[in-house]
């Protein structure tokens, strides 16, 4: 019996602990161990991050309450402890309560979600436009007002993939030509694809969006800080779906202009 009880305790414990990990561990450690969403560097990514934390707290609390009640029942109402079964089989009051309270919680969640969505879908008043085209298996970037365009492909050597060489720091997250964007500017991204559906995703810059042949999708990015940000194709697109990363350099305005000049001279 003791062993049985210990087993229950253990499983209750593991469930609770794992749910609490995200709560208790400081954000910096979480980022390092990859426990949570990557640190956001755009307004959209930040809004998504905050919303994610809010709903995760809510569902964690709900989860803990549900688990607590279940394990309390498991310990308390055991036949081996001589528990006598009650006879009740319904209670309108209880059922109304557990219909109404979840409804209220849902409303609490719906309000910030709606706001966030309105923000994300507002692609007006952008400062510049970049067209992103997915293909099997890489990306093509077109700075539509600047007459600059180029392909961007994985540079991780095959030898690292097959393991004959040690894997580099940015294994599978490195490309020949980075997408370069100016900091603080609202960049409208147009997405399409040449062959099959891909999805363009740089977690720190915001959510993903599908690149679909025959369609133009749009999203926007305004990076708050400079740096290099990495992502991947997020929609299964064939054999090398795992090998079409995205690397974005966010630079300040003067560097951006210098880079543009360099690109134009190349062309």
């Amino acid at each position: 019996m003791i062993i049985n009880r210990l087993k229950h305790l253990l499983s209750a414990g593991t469930a609770l602990v794992s749910m609490l990990v995200l709560w208790a561990v400081p954000a910096s450690v979480q980022a390092e161990w990859g426990l949570n969403l990557q640190r956001p560097v755009t307004e959209i990514a930040r809004v998504q991050y905050d919303l994610h934390m809010l709903i995760m707290y809510i569902v964690t609390v709900i989860g803990i309450i549900v688990f607590a009640i279940m394990f309390y029942s498991i310990f308390k109402f055991r036949k081996s402890k001589g528990a006598q079964p009650a006879k009740f089989s319904h209670s309108t009051k209880a059922e109304v309560i557990w219909t109404v309270i979840p409804t209220l919680i849902l409303i609490v969640m719906a309000v910030p979600s709606t706001k966030a969505l309105l923000l994300m879908e507002d692609t007006t008043e952008s400062d510049m436009v970049v067209k992103v085209t997915g293909y099997q298996w890489g990306w093509h970037y077109d700075y539509m007002e600047e007459d600059v365009s180029f392909f961007s492909k994985l540079t991780t050597p095959q030898s690292q993939i097959t393991g004959t060489e040690t894997k580099g720091e940015n294994y599978l997250l490195e490309v020949d030509n980075h997408l370069v964007l100016p900091v603080g500017q609202k960049v409208r991204i147009l997405l399409t694809a040449r062959d099959v559906i891909h999805a363009w995703w740089v977690p720190q810059l915001g959510g993903k969006k599908d690149a679909i042949p025959g369609f133009i999708n749009e999203m926007w990015i305004r990076a708050d800080e400079t740096g290099t940000f990495r992502g991947q194709c997020a929609e299964l697109c064939g054999k090398d779906h795992g090998y079409m990363p995205i690397v974005v350099d966010v630079v300040d305005e003067s560097q951006y202009q210098a880079w543009l000049d360099g690109q134009r001279n190349k062309g």
Partner: protein, 523 residues
């Protein structure tokens, strides 16, 4: 002819292979379905182990990316259409006639046919792995244009889906006909066991959803071979339309996979809590509400395709609504346990685990309903974790609860409780070791359906793979338990458990080949 001959025929159990080939007996067909389901479970599981072996470490070690994609695709198809759906039809065949006091299913020959379609269908699917170009590799969702690129394996998959769909629809018709027409006198609709209720709702979902999938894959077939352009933008078609049609089937499909499991645990928990099911009426209505809502939430699987704002808002709100009836069900099970007198035999352990871990999957589902956040979660390992908590912990653990619960009724012998408990604890622990870390992988940005990954994902993938192998091999214990119970063991009484409710416990264990030739009286 004379009645004596008929009666004589009645008691005799046919012998040999023809018993199984030509059988019209609901128990035989149920057995066939269950063995078929378990076989597919092991085959699909083996494919999952190929996936976990490749993901054990970054880099390519075991398979090439194209074969990896085939494994991802066929694993899902086999598990959904080969293991879970036929498994529940097996339960329906065995239990529904006994639960409603009917002598057999309403359409016994159709029943035989709907089973025997299955082995042919799944053979085609497995065969596809060996044709030139290999099997389907576009994911189980077979999105065009990628699926249009595939080889002959995709065509075999389309035929597989057609045949499986036919089997499911025939099975569903049979179940509805049985429940509507063959209930014992006094067995009113609102007296039916919850398993029967959830199945009748599931059957309607099947009839509504499967033809939609059949239509979608037929359009895919004509796009591939007959020059149509339903989904080809170059010919004026629309690849996103496929996703809309697919998920219009796909979301009800989720509830097709889960509702019968809800039914099973609604039978199991009251028995071991020694207390009637809490809120029977609201359970029925919650299941019906979930079924209705399942038809108006489909686009939450495709928030990232670029929908108008109004569409995104509609699907977010409607999806969030599903939390309400689902919550009602979970709270009702908890209230059934509350102030009961519980004992923890293997079926009860599985039922409790189903409620607890399905709750985890339900809560992550609620997170994904939130459109802006889902732009981060979509197509990551967070999704993979979520649907395994729902489908493995909801459907499969629910099925395990049912197997242990009714095994003594099926075989006439008690199963080995020690082995059952081993199976339970290994499964639960290994499952969580496999899939809980995948939540974190998804948060950290690991896309799903990739054979190789960046180095920051390495640690959790090691943990997940180790868990996966333990989980896979633990399932062999179930095989041993079942075989042992068929061969012998402690004799089971008619009631088996402590005063369980339901007509199935009024017949002997093992249940005679024919039951309720005379309808029982239900008060």
């Amino acid at each position: 002819m004379t009645t004596t001959v008929a009666d004589h025929h009645h008691d005799e159990v046919p012998k040999g292979i023809t018993r199984w080939l030509f059988t019209t007996n609901h128990k035989d067909i149920g057995t066939l379905y269950l063995w078929f389901s378990f076989t597919m479970f092991l085959i699909g599981g083996a494919m999952a182990l190929v996936i976990r072996a490749e993901l054990f470490q970054p880099g390519l070690q075991v398979v090439d990316p194209h074969f990896y994609n085939q494994m991802v695709t066929v694993h899902a198809l086999i598990m959904i259409f080969g293991a879970v759906m036929p498994g529940f039809v097996g339960f329906a065949n065995w239990m529904i006639p006994m639960m409603i006091g009917a002598p057999d299913m309403a359409l016994p020959r159709l029943n035989n046919w709907s089973f025997w379609l299955l082995p042919f269908a799944t053979s085609l699917l497995i065969l596809s792995l060996f044709v030139p170009g290999g099997g389907p590799a576009a994911g189980w969702t077979i999105y065009p244009p990628l699926s249009v690129q595939g080889g002959m394996g995709v065509d075999l998959t389309i035929f597989t889906i057609h045949i499986l769909g036919m089997s499911s629809i025939l099975g569903a018709i049979n179940i509805i006909a049985t429940i509507m027409n063959m209930r014992a006198p006094g067995m009113t609709l609102m007296k039916m066991p919850l398993f029967v209720w959830t199945w009748v709702i599931t059957a309607f979902l099947l009839i509504a959803a499967m033809p939609v999938l059949a239509g979608a894959v037929t359009m895919l077939l004509t796009d591939r071979h007959f020059g149509t352009a339903f989904f080809d933008p170059a010919g004026g078609g629309d690849p996103v339309m496929f996703q809309h049609i697919f998920w219009f089937f796909g979301h009800p499909e989720v509830y097709i996979l889960i509702l019968p499991a809800f039914g099973i645990i609604s039978q199991v928990i009251p028995t071991f809590a020694r207390k009637p099911l809490f809120g029977y009426t609201s359970m029925v209505f919650a299941a019906a509400a979930i079924a209705f809502l399942s038809f108006i939430v489909w686009a939450h699987h495709m928030y990232t395709v670029g929908m108008p704002l109004s569409g995104e808002l509609f699907f977010m709100y409607s999806t969030m609504l599903i939390a309400i009836p689902t919550g009602v069900k979970i709270f009702n099970w908890m209230a059934t346990m509350w102030r009961g007198s519980m004992s923890f035999e293997t079926p009860m352990l599985y039922a409790i685990a189903t409620v607890a871990l399905f709750t985890v999957g339900g809560l992550t589902g609620l997170m994904m309903a939130i459109t802006p956040a889902d732009f981060q979660y979509h197509d990551t390992y967070f999704i993979v974790a979520h649907f395994h908590y729902v489908i493995f912990c909801g459907s499969v653990l629910g099925m395990f609860a049912g197997v242990y619960y009714w095994l003594p009724k099926w075989t006439g012998h008690m199963y080995n409780e020690t082995l059952g408990k081993w199976h339970f604890w290994l499964t639960i622990i290994a499952f969580n070791v496999t899939f809980f870390p995948q939540h974190f992988l998804g948060f950290a940005g690991m896309p799903r359906r990739i054979p190789d990954y960046a180095l920051q994902f390495a640690e959790f993938n090691v943990v997940s793979s180790i868990g996966g192998f333990v989980l896979g091999y633990s399932q062999l214990i179930l095989l041993v338990v079942v075989i042992k119970a068929i061969r012998g063991g402690k004799k089971a009484s008619a009631e088996v458990w402590d005063n369980p409710e339901g007509l199935e416990w009024s017949v002997a264990s093992p249940a005679p080949y024919h039951t309720f030739a005379t309808a029982p009286e239900v008060r």
